[in-house]
Amino acid sequence: MARIGVFICHCGHNIASVVDVEKVTEFAKTLPGVVFASHNMYSCSEEGLGSIRDSIEENKLDRIVVAACTPRTHEPLFRRNCERAGVNKYLFEFVNIREHCSWIHAKEPEDATRKAMNLVAMGVAKAALLEPQTEGESNVVPVALVIGGGISGLAAASALVSQGIETHLVEKEASLGGILRDIEVIGPEMTESKKLIEELKRSIECSPKAHIHLSSRVTGLTGFIGNFEATISSEKCDEKVKVGAIIVATGGREFIPKGEYGYGSLPGVITQLELEKMLAKKEFPEKTVFIQCVGSRQPGRDFCSRMCCNTSIKNAIRIKEAKPDARVSVLHRDIMSYGTLAERVYMEAAEKGVRFMRYSLERIPMIKKKDSGLSVEVYDETLDEVIQLDADNVVLATPMVPIDDVKDVAMLLKVPVDKYGFFLEAHVKLRPVEFATEGVFICGTARWPSQVSECIAQGLAAAAKASVPIREGKVVIEPITAFSDSEKCIACGNCVIACPYEAIEIVEIDSKKQAKVNEAQCKGCGNCVAACHNDAMQQKGFGTRQLGAMIDALIKNALEVSE
C-alpha cells in the first residue's frame, strides 16, 4: 500500500481566499492511502518545499500529491523537490486547484471547495498507482543538420561551426543567402545585407567542420534525437548523413498577389521584392504608392506579417533620401513599427514627407491606368474623404507565406504546421524554437514572418538549443513513453498505424509476435494507447488504470457522496 502525502497550497490568497484549504486537507486525510496531509502558504517557496521534504522523511511518504497551480509551470520544481527528499520524481502528482478552480470559480467558494476535493481525490487515486520511472538515455551523434541557407540558417550554421560542431548546411538554391540576396539594405538599421551574408558565409566556409550542400534537398529522414539519418539529395547523388540534431530554417516566400490591385495586368503595380530589385539598381520612382496588408489580415490569411510595414517605411525613406522631391505615400490599415528603433524610423519617414493614409478593408484603394502611370483612388478613413494619388509604381506589401512544399517537409520531419502552413513550435513561451519532436528545432520565417534581426536571433537560439544534446553527448528520454504489455499484446498492429513517429514495430520475442516501442523515438503522445483494443499498450505516467482510477475517484466522491 502506498503511503501518500497530500500538500494543499494556499498560494497566498490565490487559492485560499476561495477554496477552504483546511477542509480540503481534512478531506484528503480520509482518502485511501493518504497517511499525511497538510496545507502551506506557498508550497513552491523554499520554506514550503523544505516542509514537504521534512514531511516525506517524517512520514516515510512514497507518493506525493501537491494541489496548487499548473503542472505546466511548476511540475519540474516539485519533482526535483521529491528527488531531493529521496522519492523518485515520477511518484509525484500535481493537482491544479488554482487555474482550474479558485481563479475560475472565485464567486462560488463552496462549490470550488467541493471541486477541489474531487480533484484532490482524483490526484490521490492516480498517485496511488504511479510507478517510479527512470529516465532513459541515448547517445548523440555530434553532428548538426541545418536545412535552409537563408539568413536564419546561416546564423545557425555559423554559430554551430564556431562552437566546433560538425554541421551540414543544405540549401536548395545554387547559392546561400536566401531572400536577402535580393535585398540591398535591411531596415530599420539600414544594414548592408551583402556584408552580413558574406560575413556569415565566410565564417562557415572557412570552418573545417562545415559541409555545405548547394542545390540539394533533404529527401529522407529516419531516426530520433541524437541518431537521425538524413538523405541529402542533389542532382548528382544521394548522400546519407548521420546527425544528432536538426535545425529547420526553410524560410518563407513573398506572397504573389495575383490579380489583386491589377498586379500582373497593370504595368507599374509591383511587389515589395520587385521594388527592392529596382532600388538595388538605383531606379528610384518619382511617384510611389505603397499599399500595405495586401493579402494579409483578411479572411483566409488573417495574420499580420510583421515585417511589411518596416520594409515599406525603409524603402520609402530610401526613395526620399535619393530623391527628396519624390512623392511617396503609404496606404495602410495600421502601422506595425514595433520597438524603439522602428518607431523612430517611422517618425523620421513622416518628417521626410512620406504620406501615411489609412484605408479600410471595406473600401480598399482603386488603381486605374492613366496615359502615363497609374492613379490610385483611396478613401482616407481619418479625413473621411476620397483622395486621388498619381503613381509611377504601386508597391503591394504582401505577407510572408510558407514555402510551397512545406507540407512535404513537415511530413518528412514529422513535425506539425499551423493552419497557415507555418511550422508549429512546441510551445511559444515554454519551449520556443523547439519542435515537440525532440532534437528538431525551428527558426526564421519558416516559423512565422520575422524581421532579419529576429531571424538571426532565432537562428542563434536554435543553434544554442541544438548544441545542448550534442555537447552533452547524450539525451534524457522523458519517461512518458509508451510500452506494450507483451502478455496481452496480440500484434494486431493498431498501434503501429496510430503512431505518428513510426516508433512502434511488430517484433518476435520468445517466439511471440508483439509490438515494441522504440523509446527514443516515442514522443509520448499516447495515440497508440487509445488505438489499442485490449489495453496492452500503456503510456508511462498516463496508464489506463491510473486514468481509470481518477474517473472512479470522481464517481465515488461526486456522485456517490451526493446521493
Binding site: 487555474e99 499551423d418 503522445c525 487509445a530 503510456q539
Partner: protein, 139 residues
C-alpha cells in the same frame, strides 16, 4: 433536492486545451464549477472506453478537448480524435444515452475565452438534459 449540479469530466491535451484552461485561469475567466479536468498528452490518447465507462457509471457529461485541427503537436493525433468521437456519440445514441453528453471541441493554448465558453455552454446543455439516467439504473 436542490438544483441539479452536474458532474462533468473533461480530457484536455497538454499542449493546447490544458494550456487554454490555464490561460482562462490566469485571465480569471469565471465558469461553472462542474468540470473536472484530466490532463493527457494528446486528445488522441483518450480512449473512448473512458467515456463509455464514465457515462455508464453515472457521470453526467464528458468533454474531450484537443488542439485545433492542423495544430496538433503530434501532427495527426487530433485527426484520429475527430474520427473516433463522432462514432462514440452515435453509439451512445444507439443505446439511448443522449449523445450531447459527450462533446468534442478544440481549444488552443491562446483561447482562454473559448475554454470558458465551451465549459459554460456544455454545463448549460447538461443542466438542461438533467442527471444522467444511468445514475438511477441498477444493473
Amino acid at each position: 433536492m436542490s438544483e441539479f449540479n452536474p458532474t462533468i469530466l473533461a480530457f484536455c491535451c497538454n499542449w493546447c486545451s490544458y494550456a487554454g484552461a490555464d490561460l482562462a485561469g490566469v485571465s480569471r475567466l469565471q465558469m461553472p464549477p462542474n468540470v473536472h479536468v484530466i490532463r493527457v498528452m494528446c486528445s488522441a490518447a483518450v480512449k473512448p472506453e473512458y467515456v463509455f465507462k464514465a457515462l455508464s457509471q453515472g457521470i453526467d457529461g464528458v468533454l474531450v478537448l484537443g488542439c485545433h485541427i492542423g495544430d496538433c503537436h503530434y501532427m495527426t493525433g487530433n485527426h484520429r480524435t475527430a474520427k473516433r468521437f463522432p462514432l462514440a456519440q452515435k453509439i451512445l445514441n444507439d443505446v439511448g444515452i443522449d449523445e450531447t453528453r459527450l462533446k468534442l471541441d478544440w481549444v488552443s493554448a491562446a483561447e482562454g475565452e473559448k475554454f470558458q465558453q465551451v465549459i459554460t455552454e456544455f454545463v448549460g446543455v447538461i443542466k438542461k438534459l438533467g442527471p444522467n439516467p444511468l445514475r438511477e439504473v441498477k444493473f
